[in-house]
Assembly symmetry: C2
Homo-oligomer: 143 residues x 2
DNA sequence: TTCTTTTTGAGACGGGTTATCAATTTCAAC
DNA sequence: GTTGAAATTGATAACCCGTCTCAAAAAGAA
């Protein structure tokens, strides 16, 4: 009866294939994860502290990495931290990153996505997800 | 009489603007840096150990970060390490990565690059470089 | 319920990067 | 060239994020 039945199914299938178990923590973390577009382990730790004060940070890291293996999440190294992106979110967005001040602007561009599909199929690939980061100087840092 | 007169000039200009000083170490590190497309601090530490056994790792980090501020380098977080890219090097290529077998195919696409420029300027950014990775299944792994 | 296997939580640990600080170097003004 | 203020260096301690460890708890098949 969860809103995330589809993803829960993907997770359970992955667990079954690898002799892993379905736990209360994994369910809790998946539910929280799917509500956002991307999150860090630390952020999720604080978010979930209210629901389950004893949930450990290590469990969150382990579980988010599990989601990556199951294809539900995608890890991305941003500055010093790791962002876990929600792959099921359409409206996938990319990033403009200022190399001077660290400012990050999100954007979407359908034309680029279409060209990516073209490149992929030309090479026999089926895209699952992608990462596009543009590094440069924002208007304020250009001086 | 260095081959890197242009970049040395950029560095000196940056130093001048910020009341920083031109040192033997900074010159040494810039020369080594410009000879490669990208390098980690650790790699440079070992490379330069022969020329100057007393050159400290902290100095290398500080100097590479200085190069980033001067626009000569660009930091990229790759896994646990930081790659410092030589911005003056063009010849950039992107990657198709198979999530099943790990196969990597390199490609270039001018149309995508042009659209990137568009997105950037619309947001007031000047692109120094970018990273585009397409993750999916290659033809052999699609089954 | 029983038993084996996996998972969890708490904290120790590890690798990469930054901060600290006394000694040294730069460089502008004499 | 000397001098002196200000920046830099090198060694290492501290830091942060993420992983590992391991005993206790939970899952799930029989």
């Amino acid at each position: 009866m969860s809103k995330h039945a589809k993803e829960m199914g993907i997770l359970k299938e992955h667990l079954g294939k690898h002799q892993l178990k379905f736990t209360r923590q994994r369910e809790l973390i998946l539910d929280a994860f799917l509500k956002q577009e991307h999150i860090t382990a630390e952020e999720m730790y604080h978010q979930l502290a209210r629901k389950d004060p004893h949930l450990g940070l290590a469990t969150i890291y382990r579980t988010l990495n599990l989601f990556c293996e199951a294809g539900l999440a995608q890890a991305r190294h941003f500055g010093t931290q790791t962002q876990y992106d929600n792959v099921s979110h359409k409206g996938h967005h990319d990033h403009l990153i200022c190399t001077a001040c660290g400012k990050i602007v999100e954007f979407e561009n359908c034309d680029i996505e279409r060209l990516q599909e073209e490149v992929a199929s030309r090479n026999g690939f089926t895209i699952q997800t992608h990462r596009l980061e543009l590094y440069g100087l924002c208007s304020r840092c250009r001086h």
